[in-house]
């Protein structure tokens, strides 16, 4: 499935050298994107993206700023719908269901495909209420005991429980940046998504907090499919199993992380990961 390694002379050749799968075809893909184009009004921001993301792995999207990786991430849970004037062509299938077909319940989709944002955005409520909110609106709250149990479970999953168990009813805004981000992760996990999308989750955090987030991501992949956008290549190398490299709205190369960083097939990829640009 790997193509011969050859230097690219133009982007046009990408069409023939692009790969869509990083593993063998026998594992059914979780997310299946097929010739997807994305438009902001008349401007095409993503061109002809095709990729198959496997379940229970961490996939990293890397690329220089403005290359479209965040935009692409947001198409996976239809977050771009709230921006007026955006349009998607092509198909995005999750568990073999086209999420852009008419009649798709977007609200239901967003519960199944959770998202953590670049800048942590806890609600101005207590830690408890931050997580309870997602449970309540999705009808997952149960009685008081069940609710408390679910909240504890998600805080443990996010490796935050020990730090906040005695102050669940204090304001979430009083937590440190790293804690707030882990709270946002806990909040997303509480509603039991299958897929977790993370848009540069550690970019606003100090190195120690970043490390904790990375450890968390590594642990979480056993139960979830994780797609993480990062501009930090070392982070991608540390944390992910597969990596997709984007450039100017196109998917340049997608393969096992180890391969991307040691022996990439495209020269463009090689230039980027060795730091020759971006």
């Amino acid at each position: 499935m790997s193509t011969a390694s050859k230097p690219l002379s133009s982007l046009g050749e990408l069409a023939t050298t692009r790969k869509t799968t990083a593993e063998g075809p026998d594992v059914p893909s979780k997310i299946d994107v097929d010739s997807m184009n994305f438009y902001y009004g008349d401007k095409r921001a993503l061109q002809d993206i095709s990729i198959r993301i496997k379940p229970n792995v961490v996939t990293a999207f890397i690329g220089p700023s403005g290359c479209g990786k965040s935009t692409f991430l947001r198409t996976l849970n239809r977050m771009n719908d709230i921006i007026p004037g955006t349009r998607v062509e092509g198909h995005i299938r999750i568990d073999n269901v086209d999420i852009y077909k008419s009649g798709m319940d977007v609200v239901h989709l967003r519960r199944r495909v959770g998202m953590v944002f670049q800048k942590s955005n806890p609600f101005p409520k207590s830690i408890f209420e931050n997580i309870a909110y997602g449970l309540r609106i999705n009808g997952m709250a149960g009685n008081k005991a069940e609710l408390a149990a679910r909240i504890e479970e998600s805080l443990r999953q996010a490796a935050l429980w020990d730090e906040v168990k005695d102050r669940l009813h204090e304001s979430a805004l009083a937590l440190s940046g790293g804690q707030q981000q882990r709270l946002c992760i806990a909040r997303a996990l509480a509603v039991r998504p299958d897929i977790l999308l993370m848009d540069e989750p550690a970019s606003a955090l100090d190195p120690i907090a970043t490390q904790r987030i990375e450890e968390l991501v590594y642990d979480l992949k056993k139960a979830y499919t994780i797609v993480i956008v990062t501009h930090n290549m070392q982070q991608a190398a540390r944390v992910s199993d597969h990596t997709a490299f984007f450039w100017l709205g196109r998917l340049v190369e997608y393969d096992r992380t180890e391969k991307i960083f040691t022996a990439p097939a495209e020269k463009l990829t090689e230039d980027y990961v060795t730091g020759r640009f971006g």
Binding site: I94, D95, V97, D105, V107, L109, R112, G139, R192, D194
Partner: protein, 304 residues
């Protein structure tokens, strides 16, 4: 765990509830259109009834307004001139002073001065109009009578001046907004050529903000025309076709108040007169407001 899976009952109920909520909110938003329609409808119906008995020519061009007398006359011009006279005096005060104040605040004033002036202007704008009416009748007119002994107790001058004072903050803040919308680059270009602040302000900034400032002026005129209590208290209730500010006059708005205070039964011609006058007032102010809004939009487009 797949994305398929039956849409559970609560989900469907939720969708329907969301739909209803959105339509409920939309209905509330539509109510504002209902208000406009209501105003136009009420005014039109009663004015139509009025015009059945009084020919429109007599109404618009007649020079005597005595609808409550035994031998009624329905020429609205005295009310119109009364309104315009008081408004003119008000504008002579508010427009130049407001513009000067705006230029100073926008181009010269430092933060300390602003901190004093801004609240003062806000206060002037927030005083209820009855208070201004009191001031005009019981302080300003007697004061003016010291200098103009022929000034009658009810006149156009006193309320006109006070109205100008009341509208000054509006002119000032709207003009200031317009001037602040002028890009800094224009000013800097002027200064770089060696112009003084005054030259820059008057010859570069004000002309650049011209449509915005004109919009502000027109809005001020509209406000003056629609003002009621100051004139109801201090201008008098004698409709008089005159340009003499020392005599009592009656404005359109004061007339409506006068009739409303009385005991005019519904459905009579006298009752309908207030709607006819109100219709005239509405058309006038609405037209001015539209022009002002159009000018403001044009100004925004120039510098957006």
């Amino acid at each position: 765990m797949t994305l398929r899976g039956p849409q559970s009952q609560p989900r469907r109920g939720l969708r329907r509830a969301e739909f209803l909520i959105e339509w409920g909110l939309f209905a509330c938003a539509l109510l504002s259109i209902g208000t406009t329609i209501g105003i136009i409808a009420v005014l039109t119906v009663e004015t139509a009834g009025f015009l059945e008995e009084v020919p429109i020519g007599e109404f618009l061009f007649g020079t005597e307004w005595t609808p409550l007398f035994a031998n009624p006359r329905f020429g609205v011009l005295p009310l119109v001139t009364g309104t315009l006279l008081v408004s003119l005096i008000a504008m002579l005060v508010a427009l130049p002073m407001g513009l000067l104040s705006a230029v100073y605040l926008s181009e010269y004033a430092g933060p300390q001065l602003r901190r004093i002036v801004k609240p003062v202007l806000e206060l002037l704008a927030g005083i209820p109009t009855v208070v201004y009416g009191y001031f005009a009748l019981l302080f300003v007119t007697p004061l003016l009578q010291e200098f103009l002994p022929d000034l009658s107790g009810f006149n156009a001058l006193g309320p006109g001046l006070v109205m100008g004072l009341m509208i000054l903050p509006l002119v000032s803040s709207l003009s200031e907004d317009a001037m602040r919308g002028v890009p800094r680059g224009l000013r800097e270009g002027s200064y770089a050529l060696g112009a003084t602040k005054m030259q820059t302000s008057l010859r570069v900034v004000v002309p650049a903000a011209f449509s915005g400032i004109t919009a502000a002026f027109i809005l001020a005129i509209s406000r003056a025309i629609g003002e009621t209590m100051i004139v109801a208290i201090a201008a008098g209730q004698q409709p008089r076709l005159t340009l003499d500010p020392t005599k009592p006059v009656e404005t359109m708005t004061a007339y409506i108040v006068q009739v409303s205070l009385g005991d005019t039964p519904q459905g009579t011609l006298e009752y309908r007169t207030i709607f006819a006058v109100g219709m005239l007032l509405f058309i006038g102010t609405f037209g001015l407001n539209l022009v002002s809004a159009w000018l403001r939009e044009r100004f925004r487009e120039e510098y957006a």
